[in-house]
Amino acid sequence: MKIVHDPDVCTGHGRCYLLVPELFADDEFGHGFLSGSGVLAEEQMKAAQKAVDSCPERAISIVAD
């Protein structure tokens, strides 16, 4: 499974990098971005789901590889 972030939908609420810093980082605009490839190990699934659920813009999703 892979986590993806859509920068066109993101408006910089900043929840992802605050709540899930192991997967997301912040840019100079305060917008989030994936700090790695997004490919998820089994033990990262819970954190990934948290990022999906916390995004007010629904800009983050988990998809099949």
């Binding site: 408006t11 609420h13 929840r15 100079e28 305060g30 917008h31 659920d53 007010p56 813009e57």
Partner: protein
């Protein structure tokens, strides 16, 4: 909202004063999308999100025309494509990493304000803390002297009165005088900072050159919006967070013992108690929202408060605090100051509980909000506590 003759009976009759749950149930009861007194209410999460995602139909610029501001309210009263030009400049100035840099200074200020009444055994959260702190934070962000706080507050109180009143409120002469005084004050600093810039928002905007440069009118408009959007809202939220901590001794003790819990508690209070619970937009064309046709030129009321409660608890529910909310809006107009506001709330909770871990609402006082109001806030929150020194 642009015609003072029209009465918004349905809107104004909402029972929000003492119990917000009753008030927001009242707004969600008629449905997801409906019309009352010529206003179109969007109450479900899906409906509100639809409007947020279609700024080309739901205009923010048109919705803020009715305030009659003498300067353009940048960036909220601007639609695309100009809007993005402003946000590209402003977003980096309000990003969390920038707020981090002034964290120590903002913490010091919160501590100082709280220390001023910590030995008294009583205070009014609204007057003694909530109104003072956001004003100081704005002055700090803008590189203006903290000594100007009380004067600044006097002007902004008048200005906010003009813009934040109930539906259809027109500006009074007194309120316009406040705006004129505030503009004069800001204009002085704009002139000063153009020649001698500091490391603050105002200086950074003024330092833009060439095609990027802002006119004085644009800079004033931005300052004016920050005053309208950044003072009352944060003040209101401080009041609501402290109200919930006063009413929930168990929760308060948990937060005092484990300060990390402050973040989810604040998120839940933000979800339930919105300072700006309904944000207006004006439709630029006819639009169908979830099966209901809304005509062009209609005022759409995005009821963020009901969207936040849909399928969720009407009380603080910490296990679901990460699910988020729309209190800071969504789409292109997502609240620019959201990161700063969250930091202010966090610092206030941290420093308050450190100085005053035990407190109760003054006996016999029933906390309530005024409605209708531009910003939903507690008029007063008198509390009592064991007096103590600050260590």
């Amino acid at each position: 909202m642009d015609n003072p003759q029209v009465s918004f009976t349905f809107h104004d009759a909402a029972p929000l004063g003492v119990d917000r749950t009753a008030g927001w149930d009242y707004f969600s009861a008629p449905g997801e999308v409906y019309e009352r007194d010529g206003l179109w209410y969007l109450t479900s999460h899906r409906a509100v999100r639809f409007a947020h995602q279609h700024p080309e139909i739901f205009s923010s610029a048109k919705a803020f025309d009715s305030l009659g501001s003498p300067v353009p309210l940048i960036p909220i009263a601007v639609d695309q494509p100009a809007h993005i030009r402003y946000r590209r400049v402003l977003d980096p100035m309000f990003a969390p990493r920038v707020v981090n840099k002034i964290d120590d200074e903002l913490r010091r200020q919160a501590r100082e304000i709280i220390a001023a009444f910590a030995a008294n055994g009583e205070c009014d959260i609204v007057k003694d803390l909530a109104e003072l702190y956001p004003t100081q934070v704005i002055l700090t962000m803008f590189g203006l002297p903290l000594d100007d706080r009380d004067q600044f507050m006097e002007w902004t109180r008048l200005v906010i009165g003009a813009s934040g009143g109930g539906a259809g409120a027109a500006a009074t002469e007194e309120q316009m005088m406040g705006a004129v005084s505030l503009f004069g004050y800001l204009q002085d600093y704009i002139t000063k900072k153009r020649t001698a810039p500091g490391d603050d928002v105002l200086s950074k905007v003024l330092a833009l050159t060439g095609d990027e440069a802002w006119t004085d009118e644009e800079v004033l408009g931005m300052c004016f919006l920050f005053v309208i959007a950044g003072l009352d809202t944060v003040a209101a939220s401080i009041g609501f967070v402290m109200l919930h901590l006063a009413r929930n001794p168990e929760l308060r003790r948990q937060v005092a013992a484990n300060p990390e819990l402050a973040a989810p508690v604040i998120e839940e209070v933000l979800r339930l108690e919105l300072p700006a619970p309904i944000t207006p937009r004006v439709t630029l064309s006819e639009v169908e929202v979830l099966g209901t046709m809304i005509p062009a030129g209609a005022t759409a009321m995005l009821v963020l408060a009901t969207a936040n409660r849909e399928g969720r608890s009407d009380d603080i529910d910490l296990p679901t605090a990460d699910l988020g909310h729309l209190t800071f809006g969504g789409g292109i107009h997502r609240c620019l100051g959201s990161h700063l506001a969250r930091r202010e709330l966090r610092l206030v909770v941290d420093e308050f509980l450190r100085a005053i871990p035990e407190f109760t609402i003054a006996e016999g006082y029933e906390p309530r909000v005024e409605w209708p109001a531009g910003t939903l806030h507690l008029a007063s929150l008198p509390i009592c506590f064991p007096p103590r020194g600050y260590e």
